[in-house]
């Protein structure tokens, strides 16, 4: 039997829309993942603490406010400061394509925008686990 894969789905920042995050959580549950959903309005500190304590295989960050160029690098910086380098970090929500390279640069492995099939995300996670 394959080992269970644990994921955190988090909403950094101040946007109040988590329908997408909930759909993704539910879909990935149905794909056999254990999904920890941490709710709205998370600071980078909150998210990094959740990662430390829950020890997931991947962190999925959903953001629709446009604050991703600030918040996502900050989260990556704090993960690094805590010597957490063996988890897969993904972005989702409303993130313009021209911002992808800069996010990839700081370690956000891939970004999935509106219209992505959940199967695609599930396959990507399974293929790119770091441990």
């Amino acid at each position: 039997m394959d080992r269970k894969i644990r994921l955190i789905v988090a909403k950094p920042g101040l946007d109040g829309h988590d329908r997408g995050a909930k759909v993704i959580s539910r879909g990935l549950r149905d794909a056999g993942f254990e999904v920890i959903y941490t709710g709205l309005h998370q600071t980078p500190e909150d998210i990094v603490q959740s990662v430390i304590q829950e020890d997931p295989d991947a962190l999925l960050l959903s953001i629709l406010s446009g604050a991703h160029p600030v918040l996502l690098p900050e989260i990556m910086k704090q993960l690094k400061a805590n010597e957490i380098d063996d988890i897969l970090v993904l972005g989702g929500g409303i993130i313009p394509e021209e911002d992808f390279p800069a996010l990839k640069e700081v370690g956000v492995e891939a970004v999935f925008g509106p219209g992505t099939k959940i199967q695609e995300i599930a396959d990507f996670i399974r293929a790119n686990l770091k441990r």
């Binding site: 269970k4 959580s25 149905d30 794909a31 254990e34 959903y37 941490t38 500190e45």
Partner: protein, 350 residues
């Protein structure tokens, strides 16, 4: 493969050493989290590398079990209770167990949402666990995880289980104090006198006290407790599945998890129960009982593993199987299993 196991054991060792270090901080927290993952994924095989090293550091935490129907407010109340202990300067850890889907094996673990207030408090630790299909609501690994958190140095450990309801005896076996949350509007007196969950409760919590029917719920529970005290029946409890605490009438406490109303009263009662356990010697009795079951579970695992290995690798088993195929008196699967068991136990226990 062997190098894989070796590297895993080196990793385990690194985290065990970090956990043994009395100095707290994010590194120690991460070590705790990593060890929990090893146990979740590796089961007793991983636990036997970890628990023996940490066991001498355990036995200090007050373990509180919280159970009740889905939506009764377990997580919200757990968060409130944690706040109070944190304000007292204590270290608090929460194990929040949620159900695994029987269809896909996946799970949504959503208890953290209710505990946002303390996410970044250095004295607070929350771990969400999927029950991975274990009946009774407590994930199999939970007992081991409780021990690791105890060794980490948590004053209070709160185990919040899946709210499946009446068969939640498991939690009682792991906790010092078991709280059952029962909001108004769920069931009548007959529910209250049913066996199981209601019998193992140390403290009843009627949460959502602002709702209609809270006082009625309290009255129903008190009536049930009166029944219990007035009916005296001679019974042999030596074979009971739990340790009964004579002399403790479970208090029934109304709370509001959202506003925190009456939570200090609940805490007083949790403390009073802990003192009761210590003064009456029930704490030790319950511990003896708990460890008996812990040992049985571990033995079951390793015995099954051994039995399978021995049976399948042993040539002699074929002689037994041949006998079975004769369809004669004394050659049935039960008689033969008994014969094998005798050989097996003689080899290992005499």
């Amino acid at each position: 493969m062997t190098t894989e196991i070796q590297s895993k054991n080196t990793q385990i060792q690194k985290y065990v050493d970090l956990l043994k270090n009395p100095e707290k901080g994010p590194k120690k927290k991460r070590a705790l989290a990593r060890l929990i993952t090893f146990i979740e994924n590796g089961g007793p095989e991983a636990a036997k590398e970890i628990i023996p090293q940490l066991y001498p550091l355990t036995g200090k935490a007050h373990i509180i079990g919280i159970t009740g129907a889905p939506g009764s407010g377990k997580s919200t109340l757990t968060s409130e209770i944690s706040n109070h202990y944190l304000e007292q300067g204590l270290t608090v850890s929460v194990i929040a167990v949620d159900p695994t889907s029987p269809f896909t094996g996946g799970a949504i673990l959503g208890d953290r949402i209710r505990m946002k207030k303390n996410f970044t408090n250095p004295n607070f630790f929350i771990r969400s666990m999927a029950n991975r299909g274990q009946l009774g609501g407590l994930a199999m690994a939970t007992k081991d995880v409780i021990h690791i958190i105890d060794a980490y140095g948590s004053d209070i450990i709160i185990v919040e289980t899946v709210g499946v309801g009446q068969s939640e005896i498991d939690i009682f076996k792991s906790a010092h104090t078991t709280l059952v949350i029962t909001p108004p509007g769920l069931g009548d007196e007959i529910q209250a006198i049913k066996a199981g969950l209601m019998e193992i409760t140390d403290i009843f919590v009627v949460n959502k006290m602002d709702r209609d029917g809270a006082d009625k719920r309290v009255a129903e529970l008190e009536t049930m407790l009166d029944f219990g005290e007035n009916i005296q029946i001679e019974n042999d409890y030596s074979q009971a599945k739990v340790v009964r605490c004579d002399g403790w009438r479970p208090p029934v406490i109304k709370t509001n998890g959202l506003t925190g109303e009456n939570v200090p009263i609940l805490l007083e009662n949790i403390h009073r129960h802990f003192i009761f356990l210590e003064e009456t010697g029930f704490k030790k009795k319950r511990l003896q009982f708990r460890y008996k079951h812990y040992i049985i579970e571990i033995l079951k695992y390793f015995l099954v593993k051994n039995v399978e290995e021995i049976v399948f690798s042993n040539e002699k088993i074929n002689e037994f199987i041949e006998k079975l195929l004769a369809y004669e008196q004394g050659s049935d699967p039960y008689t033969i299993s008994e014969a094998i068991l005798e050989v097996f136990l003689n080899r290992y226990f005499s």
